[in-house]
């Protein structure tokens, strides 16, 4: 249950009397939130910018790229602990898919989820504050990189377990179908998830029930160091076809190609014609995780990386701008300012009070017994 979609739940909350267990985290405007405040973070009355023009899509790709570079820097400087799974190189998939979604549509995301979360509308300052473990973060510093969520925006959560978001997305799609709402749900997952049994179970369920669900496979060629070619028998698309699910291969480096395929898929799902599977061929330019830098792993050749970098989705998106150079410079400047603001907001925000480490554990407000008696 979320306060977001449960329209039977009243939404008026007095911030002074809010119980931290039941507080709606999204009652503060992100733009005006005080970074020192220990109040719930904001996401609320935000207007999500549509990704409906090439310029908007370029802008979002630029934002994700810049955000991920900033996150890498903050991991190196120790401001972000635990590290991140950089999305650099794969931006066209998140942006292309989210461009095909409506605000009321929902997604589930992965361990490599920053791109999905930003493209679905979370302001970078809230996501960065979450990565830095601050009370103003999207999840009040309780989730971090791998669990970023914003239920009001239809982001049912990134997930630390490979493939685990997919059946959750199917449940949301089932609920949408039951409610006769014309929502669709997109489940993002990697090539590694193709070998999770629960994903295959979910393909079957989605097919027999004709759920309004988009299976978005981001095939970046590797599950950590294991090449998909050595791990996936048959092919992703053939697996989906085996369940009678319409499946397409998409150039995941081209935001317009992804958007086109995802729009057609969403239209089909919205019309009640069932799920669609998109295998987006893409590549991550960085390591699997920020710790990889320390290990100097050599599972990909320099030539392979260079070949994919030559197809940088940022460049192809920039090429689609009407007045390429001037427009690009203007957007880049805006994004840089937005990221400066995000950094300032996140690093200026308070860290959570350790006495609240068990806050939010139970929606009912139940407090667990302490680990040590006084």
């Amino acid at each position: 249950m979320t306060r977001a979609l449960d329209d039977r739940a009243p939404q008026t909350v007095d911030p002074q009397t809010v119980d931290p267990q039941t507080a709606d985290p999204q009652t503060v405007d992100p733009q005006t939130a005080d970074p020192q405040s220990t109040d719930p973070p904001s996401a609320g009355a935000r207007s999500v910018e549509p990704l409906d023009t090439p310029a908007a899509r370029y802008r979002m790709i630029r934002l994700i790229r810049g955000f991920e570079e900033l996150a890498l820097e903050l991991v190196r400087s120790g401001h972000i602990v635990g590290g991140t799974h950089p999305y650099i190189g794969q931006e066209a998939v998140a942006v292309g898919v989210c461009a095909a979604l409506r605000p009321g549509d929902q997604i589930t995301s992965t361990h490599r989820g920053h791109g999905h979360v930003l493209a679905k509308g979370v302001p970078p300052r809230l996501l960065l504050a979450e990565l830095a473990g601050r009370v103003t973060g999207s999840n009040r510093g309780r989730g971090g990189s791998m669990h970023a969520a914003d239920l009001r925006l239809g982001i049912l959560g990134a997930n630390g377990i490979v493939g685990a978001g997919v059946p959750i997305a199917a449940g949301a799609a089932w609920a949408a179908k039951q409610a006769r709402a014309d929502r669709v749900v997109a489940a993002f997952f990697g090539d590694g998830a193709l070998n999770q049994g629960v994903l295959l179970e979910t393909l079957n369920l989605a097919a027999i029930w004709k759920l309004p669900l988009l299976f978005v496979c981001e095939n970046n060629g590797y599950a950590t160091t294991l090449p998909a070619a050595a791990a996936v028998a048959g092919s992703a698309v053939a697996r989906a076809c085996g369940f009678g699910v319409a499946a397409f291969e998409v150039d995941g480096m081209d935001v317009e190609a992804v958007r086109g395929a995802a729009s057609a898929a969403a239209g089909r799902a919205r019309a009640g014609r069932g799920p669609v599977f998109l295998e987006c061929r893409t590549y991550r330019f960085e390591g699997h995780h920020t710790v990889e830098r320390r290990f100097r792993l050599a599972y990909r050749t320099a030539e392979e990386i260079a070949a994919w970098r030559a197809r940088d989705p940022l460049e192809s998106a920039a090429a689609a701008l009407a007045d390429a150079e001037a427009e690009r410079a203007a957007i880049d400047a805006q994004v840089a300012a937005q990221l400066d603001d995000a950094r300032e907001f996140a690093l200026g925000s308070a860290t959570p009070d350790p006495s609240g480490a068990c806050d939010f554990l139970y929606a009912s407000g139940l407090r667990p017994r302490a680990g040590a008696l006084p």
């Binding site: 979320t2 709606d24 239920l151 068990c358 009912s364």
Partner: protein, 323 residues
């Protein structure tokens, strides 16, 4: 007055919940046919969209329930075998249970997972005889194990209304219990213990069907020792204040618990009592052996489960000690 069986009580609680709240829905295998009794007749009454037959895809449908819960539904998920909970431990313990904290309180997962027929079913062998309630209590998932039909009704009603995930064990050894019901059935709050029989010498904490064993032993030994039969009903959150009250009176404790010994709920009860109550006798525990796997042959199956004779001995042993 009417005679209510445990199975019928569950069925009625679920029917009442479906009737009262359109958000309630049921997922499971053979729930349309009502194989396990829990859902008998409910698909005819509420339709296939609310009592939903699933293919044999427990992991997918357990998280499907979470996705539906995130959209305002209150799913009840039925499992045909207690050990299927091992298969979906990820979906319950790692996904549904953690979502409230990990989202900083944005999301709640009001899901009830029901096993109608937990523990030994007599002769169903190694993979159908588990009683893994202590696992969920350990993880911190709300866990209930009702002993009687009225408690089964009342706790299922509360579990479905609760905003958090709840695992509901209906012990197969309690499913045949019938009870004279004189009052209207009503919800029983989670986390509230019940003293079935008051006593002054020994507190016997009994879980699930073993409450009936404890009541029989208490009646039998009544002349000799005054036993208080304490039924936690909910194992997590456990009603520690009620246990403290009981132990303040008896200062002697025996726990009878159908878990494996190591890390079972009985261990927690004994440890908490030792730490927080002034006992005058070392507390005793009656459980399955460490790491038990129930063998098939009936005599072997029964040999590993807690029984009345063990309880008698333990009660006599602690009653002998005087502080």
């Amino acid at each position: 007055m009417s005679l209510l069986s445990y199975a019928k009580a569950l069925n009625r609680a679920l029917a009442d919940a479906l009737e009262a709240d359109p958000a309630v829905c049921v997922f499971g295998e053979d729930v349309g046919a009502g194989m396990a009794g829990l859902t008998f007749g409910l698909q005819d009454r509420f339709g296939r969209d609310r009592v939903v037959d699933l293919p044999l895809s427990e992991q997918a449908f357990t998280s499907l329930a979470l996705g539906a819960a995130l959209c305002g539904r209150r799913p009840v998920v039925e499992f045909q075998i207690p050990s299927l909970l091992f298969l979906v431990f990820e979906q319950i313990a790692n996904q549904a249970h953690k979502i409230s904290l990990m989202t900083g309180g944005q999301a709640a997962a009001p899901i009830t997972y029901v096993v109608p027929g937990s523990g030994s079913r007599e002769g169903w062998a190694g993979q159908h005889s588990d009683h893994p309630y202590s696992l969920f209590a350990h993880v911190g998932v709300k866990t209930v194990v009702p002993a009687t039909p009225t408690d089964a009704y009342g706790l299922l009603a509360s579990a479905i209304r609760d905003p958090d995930p709840v695992v509901f064990f209906a012990p197969s050894a309690a499913m045949s219990v019938r009870e004279d019901v004189t009052r209207e059935l009503e919800a029983v709050p989670l986390g509230a213990a019940r003293v079935h029989r008051e006593g002054t010498d020994v507190t016997v904490v009994a879980v699930g069907h073993l409450v009936h064993t404890a009541l029989a032993v208490a009646a039998e030994l009544a002349e000799e020792v005054s036993i208080e039969v304490f039924d936690p009903r909910t194992l997590y959150p456990f009603d520690w204040p009620a246990l403290s009250l009981s132990l303040a009176k008896t200062r002697r404790l025996v726990v009878i618990d159908d878990s494996n010994r190591s890390c079972g709920i009985g261990a927690e009860v004994v440890a908490s009592a030792a730490q927080e109550s002034r006992l005058i006798a070392p507390p005793r525990r009656i459980t399955r052996p460490d790491g038990a796997v129930l063998p098939f042959a009936l005599a072997l199956d029964r040999a590993l489960q807690p029984n009345a004779e063990q309880l008698r001995q333990a009660v006599r042993a602690v009653a002998k000690e005087h502080g």
